[in-house]
Symmetry: C2
Subunit: 355 residues, 2 copies
Amino acid sequence: MVAWGSAYGGTMAGIRELADHLHLSIGTVSRALNGKPDVNPETRSRVLEAAAALGYVPNQSGRSLRQGTTNAVGFMIESGNDVAGNLDNFFLGVFDGVQIVLSRHHLDLIVLPCSTVEDPHQYLQRMVARRIADALIISATHRKEPRIELLQKAQIPFISLGRSAMPDDYAWLDLDFEGYALRSVDRLVAKGHRRIAVGMPGNDINLGFVFHDAYRAALARHGLAYDPQLVLRAASSDQGGYHIAHDLLTLPDRPTALILIYEFMAVGVYRRLQEEGLAPGKDLAIIGFRESPLASFLTPRLSCFRLSLRDLGVGLGESLLASMPAFADVYPRGIVHKVWPMEFVAGGSDAMDVR
Amino acid sequence: MVAWGSAYGGTMAGIRELADHLHLSIGTVSRALNGKPDVNPETRSRVLEAAAALGYVPNQSGRSLRQGTTNAVGFMIESGNDVAGNLDNFFLGVFDGVQIVLSRHHLDLIVLPCSTVEDPHQYLQRMVARRIADALIISATHRKEPRIELLQKAQIPFISLGRSAMPDDYAWLDLDFEGYALRSVDRLVAKGHRRIAVGMPGNDINLGFVFHDAYRAALARHGLAYDPQLVLRAASSDQGGYHIAHDLLTLPDRPTALILIYEFMAVGVYRRLQEEGLAPGKDLAIIGFRESPLASFLTPRLSCFRLSLRDLGVGLGESLLASMPAFADVYPRGIVHKVWPMEFVAGGSDAMDVR
DNA sequence: CTGAAAGCGCTTACAG
DNA sequence: CTGAAAGCGCTTACAG
């Protein structure tokens, strides 16, 4: 294995070389560099200058070992699950927001992709054991989510992008799946729809349950019966959407509206409808989920909900810092539980009126 | 800042505790754990068992400091650039392949997203200085790419996903943009097209130049004149595609074919054509670039080229390891320069014949 | 205000 | 085969 430090061609020195060069002790150099008080201002500026000139940057392993701190935040994503097709630029936008917050405090964001072939819980356990980050963000939370227990036990500050069905004593941020279901049903009912189907994943991802329960509650509010047949389950992909549309078309007393939990599904729904000579927004009202480039290039445009990924990332970053003892005073929010609002964007896909 | 080690509720011990518990020295425990020879088999199994029981995992900072090794590979991506819309699941697929290779050697993949607000070169410099990984993968390479010089100077093993216009003394893997341009032009010419436009980014990303030069060479091979007006530049997004189509429609002696460097652009092209009552594949032949879910849900289907992201990731991982002294014997490939092949997938978008 | 020393958790020559 | 000791590069009480 290559030892970078020594192999760095002399351009990258350790604190020892820096101290020798300045005829100072490494302790003083360290204090000067880290902005500690009790350092002669003149000494400090000499140190800072020399550090810049020599390209000195402290070795993170040395710091980490001594301080028990990595100055990094980890963001675990799953690179190979069901949701993959949907991840698209979702996470890239969120990362950007998180980094805006972290950079204020000289923390780096490290993304930890859990591959298809590895169990998420085991993967996280390994990352925790490696002490790769001071705090963690997890996503794609399931109803029963052992990773939450793992992180609590390990006493690592963390926040979850997504709730679970577990005791609510951890920090989370989640998209407003209730609001999505409620407002979508309201809108469709107002247009006369009585048979409203939903398309959602068949797995244990928590958001499916939140969405389903809110959908059911919304129906009840309008005095509509809940029909299990109208809950169509498939993979969170365009393929899944295709299957959902296929199943929908075979239902007796065919539904006139469909609410999808992933906008990607809409692509397959459109395709299947077109195969039957049916038109989205005319023969079936469709509401997608999140506004993405996708929404605007489907014809008719997909009705969906808008949110700023960057703002979501900022919220996530700030809420995480609030749970870290070292930053809690700067972000005094306590344990954050926040449902992230979204704004409706009307397209033609649910324009039909069946009154 | 929280010290995980001590706060780990006693469940996660250090090597000291493990050694005490076994009445062994930490040296012996370390050797047993690391599979060194000269350890009594019985002792080794006792150590391994106890480690598993106590949930012991070596502190990575301690190891790194001692060994000068992190056992991690960093993959730098840009979370906010022009290409963002196009990144979609591209990188997620590639990560998966890279991890398959790395996991064989107990190396972890750490993704380093460079945010919109940070200069990529400075960002990489910081990551290098932190010694966050033993080797690095960079992407989105420009024609002039200072990051390559930085990594060479720092003597860090690395591979670039994408070439540059710099001296070719570093390892790279790149998609076959020449083959893409050549085969696309060949195909269109065979169908009678004489005015073939290209849509590409206006920035300094290297792939645009490779593509452009190959396009020009392909035209020459067919005795067709190169017309700078047919090189349409715009952002690598659906919006960019829209602008490209718009510009194309205003050209005198309108081109009959268009080759796009990003498949995402096709969405905007389709939209703009439809606005004019023109049909893709009938009034304008279009070839996208990479096959993605997008290709199949455009109507008509987008003609494009297929590649396995996972295989690409595997190739990337193995080529990187070949450049790392510690693994070069396992992957004896030397410095890899590899153009990644792609397979044509015919759609309806370039079906028209103008002979 | 500065220096000398301890120690973070490991691995690895070196003795025995 | 095992133990004792050095040392990786830092930070931080503790003296002075």
